[in-house]
Symmetry: D2
């Protein structure tokens, strides 16, 4: 931490700050500036956010953190890229771009099996589908719950695709984990720390979506929550942040991909369906995400989007998804990756 | 809903849309414009978000919702202002401005009792304090949990102030409800629907904080979640939204107060401590919130902010809080309210 | 500036950085941390943003500025509050809350004189009105230009109120200055540096509006542009920033008022009309701005808002404005100010 | 426009609205809903924003625009993609991805010529460089002005590359136009309507950057300003918007590319240097922009970024730029484009 003193702060105030820094287990180091003093507090500040409280002290103007507050997620701690194994056939973070595709919600056996076969035939590696749905309105369809999990399992059997599905409540995490190959934490729960801790206690890969107004640093802190409980198998997913722009449902922040690649060893995928909220823009943003360095994609596909019970406007029909996968191969190759 | 057709959309496409609107239980009404047709779909669209899926249909440019999607929270359903009773002595939404004050976290018996007495003497009506803390870092202090609830109860006994405290996990909601007078849903859990449903099943007043990137409409939808489970005792709390500005921790959106007053009958309070993140600005924003029409305030007070285990920089010392309460009386009076 | 080295950066890299810091005229000061070195560069960094370029050097992780980049606008340079004289009768920044009211655009002689008399009778101190209008659409009414200035002058004669009006082009600044008592720089031109320099060369008070996505620091840098050309008579105006919220046209950032009061000696006023974009919310936000410490208000008043050629939805009718002024007196008094 | 009446609005109020709609030259069309009436106003609403003023009328809840407010920039008016000719050799919007590269500011003859040759050899099609610099601080380097234009012309002579440079003041637009091949409007001037009109009166291609907090619709309205003055040669440039994220200087909104491609016939390029503010991320975002459908790129290249007088941290060295161009060919090919 760097503690910036006010211009003309009294020596007494500075001495109090130095004393407090030592009490907290850091070594202070004063730099005398032309108009003010600046104090470096040397010591591992991670996990000691308490230094921030120095801002309340007399004569202190501001406290500036220097170190990133995460450890396990950091590239400084683990230099080599993590490869997260989902099944024997599917791993995220290696040379293969992993595509997870399927409907927003599981609606019926026919729908999920038909879609699973379609996305498999187009080249997808995993099936996605919601059984527990966090909907903004209490009057919207809330998902088929355990029945949805059973249908997803049946679709896995038929198609051979492992599946990822969302968990929304610590109380049902274990139940979902019995069925699913990968557990998704949705954007609205990205700082639901009770839920993060719960999935951290399992040994099941976790797909962690970025919250709508989460900074990249906070995103990595949420990953750190899962990892600090013992589960290192975390895949990050950029899915759009909230900005003033309304032409898209969210603003897909693709620059988060190279930034994350610089800061963490965890794999990073992108969700252009939620990121744009409009099927017209999904293909362009899927290509762009791979070009930006994404390790995978999550894409909504629905055989009949006009009758979907959720997220119809952003779902691709299987035929359009197949075209997207064709073209995507070229972008994967341009990135020295396979699809 | 208004369905806007593309300029030059085929008659066939329009007919398909009309058919689909009827299938969904609405009555379509076409307006022929100079360059395009616009279709009104008449019927109660609340709870039928499914109309949005028309956006996937051929020839449709966009679908524009007209009605607000909430019912129970709406002023159209209940015209008169709701007054939420916490105890025989304290109600939020009446002529009295209700002030809830106390530390961010309960740290020790001495700390919480000392603070409770100080804020009571300064004129606060309720005590606030966190026993379960949703902290961004897994390495930060996570709260005293049930022990914290016991200390809050002791402070209530000594000071006579009822207390509000946060719930973070559906699994512990009932436990917290046994101790607390009011349950707080924090900003990070404002769209944790599992948690919202759980507090909706109790008969305990709920203080619902606005999520950091929640629109006012989504905020009311979260209130609707609680209310649709049967619990009508919801108080809304504006606590700052996330914007590009970094001079304050969040941007306290005081205009949300008159907007909410126009749309809902639920009481609205403001939290200038989290809203600014800096004790220097708390008093000014507390006065402004009351002038804007707030029904109450939540303010962090800590007897020793430099040693606080969380949120030190935004906590007021008891002496400053007492001065704030003095001046606040004038603003309450200017608003025809009492303190 | 603080230069943060990468963990494990080579000694050679650090030496290069030290050399470069000295070349740029600063004195380097190394703090050896547990995982990395941090270098303080001592010297007045204002006007030498070039230090930022150290971020390109090998082994450097980031460069963190410490000092605020403005001087003349800063409270460190001038401690006492500035009072900006507009006429013998009107000054902004003293004990009186100054209210500037009038239509968005000057439309006709009748309209501007009628409104000037109405706002004067209600207690306003200055007239506002646009002759040159920066409109988002080239097809919208662009203002009466010099004819508008003549009408404003006539309204000043009749009502006795001095007027403030917007300048949009360096080429017409001098012309406007011949008529107006105060020159307004609008939000869209808040970083139009050619325009800022031009008004800085005059000796006419300037009302500088905050840009829609300007940080408070950038806002003060724009004031610094005007002041560095010699014109110290700058009044700042918070008028709403752009956020994700759409219930209001902008988000009026009232916390900018106490923040600015802490950082600058310049007076600060608020514009609740543009800040909310909806006349329903103007009074509440006007009271709140004064409670937050504003030195004045700018409010749109139109005698016939339904027929206004711009900004009708946010304009108050004279009768509503008069009621607002009545109630505002109470809030001014609660703030130890007069109206 | 759609005018939404309040639930239970009086018939008298509705009749007033109908009358006013007719007065304004539109044909009203009432839809009787279950709880409220909705009125469609038929007629070309572009250039008649005045309908918005209906929001002030009694009984009106809101006014919802339906048509886009731009004409000349719209794909509805001109279906085929525009190709903007800069010189006989360089056109933007055709099958070739056009790359404009060079330093942020022109600093010296040696610097600009050296850089021009380097970017030409790496495959760039145009030179970029600032002679007039809109800097946030009045104390920062403001550009070499006309001397800079002379140096850019010399670099053009030596390298054969046409150049684009920024205009910041209507008073110097004609001077700049005598030297430059393309005129750039910077982000801070994107709603400087006096400047937009001025470049609209010339017959010189214009590179229009998106303002930091401009919606896509407003961006197209700024293009409309230029076009409505007669200059149709406009190229749009996405260069990052302002959001809460601070890991990058701006958030490069690549989804703006497919959205713009759907709405306008004008070419769209991206600026990953300003968009990220950090040279580490430039290559990834350049590839992504092309994959998203961009017609070109603007990239900052400086032979000695550590000594650059502006924007050092985001400038690439020539060797890194050459590598970027190599890899970019693959992404251009994957997009069926050439480089």
């Amino acid at each position: 931490m760097i503690i910036v003193m006010k211009a003309g702060a009294a020596k007494k105030d500075r001495d109090e700050v130095l004393k407090r820094i030592r009490e907290l287990g850091y070594k202070p180091h004063v730099i005398h500036g032309t108009t003010r003093d600046v104090i470096g507090a040397v010591g591992d500040e991670r996990g000691k956010l308490v230094l921030q409280s120095l801002e309340s002290m007399h004569g202190v103007e501001s406290v500036v953190p220097i170190l990133q507050p995460y450890k396990l997620a950091s590239k400084e701690v683990k230099r080599e890229q993590s490869v997260i194994r989902v099944t024997d056939d599917v791993s995220v973070g290696g040379s293969q771009i992993v595509v997870m595709a399927g409907p927003c919600s599981v609606e019926s056996e026919e729908q999920i099996i038909e879609t699973a076969l379609a996305v498999r035939d187009a080249g997808a590696h995993m099936l996605r589908g919601g059984a527990y749905k966090p909907r903004t309105s209490p009057y919207s369809f809330q998902g088929l719950e355990e029945e949805g999990l059973r249908l997803l399992s049946k679709a896995r059997e038929v198609s051979g695709l492992p599946f990822v599905t969302e968990v929304v409540n610590p109380e049902t995490v274990e139940l979902v984990a019995e069925y699913a190959d990968m557990l998704q934490i949705g954007a609205r729960n990205a700082q639901n720390f009770a839920l993060l801790k719960k999935v951290g206690q399992l040994r099941k890969p976790v797909l962690l979506k970025r919250g709508m107004s989460m900074t990249i640093q906070e995103f990595l802190m949420s990953a750190e929550y899962v990892m600090s409980e013992g589960n290192q198998a975390v895949v990050l997913c950029e899915r759009g942040i909230r900005t003033f722009e309304t032409a898209t449902r969210n603003t897909l922040d693709l620059s988060a991909i190279p930034v994350l690649k610089q800061k963490t060893h965890l794999p990073v995928i992108a969700d252009p369906s939620h990121g744009t909220g409009n099927y017209h823009y999904v293909a362009a943003m899927a290509y762009a995400a791979v070009a930006a360095g994404a390790d995978g994609l999550m894409i909504e596909v629905h055989s009949d989007p006009e009758h979907a019970s959720s997220d119809g406007p952003q779902s691709l029909k299987p035929s359009k998804f197949a075209l997207l996968m064709e073209r995507l191969k070229l972008f994967a190759a341009a990135s020295d990756r396979t699809l």
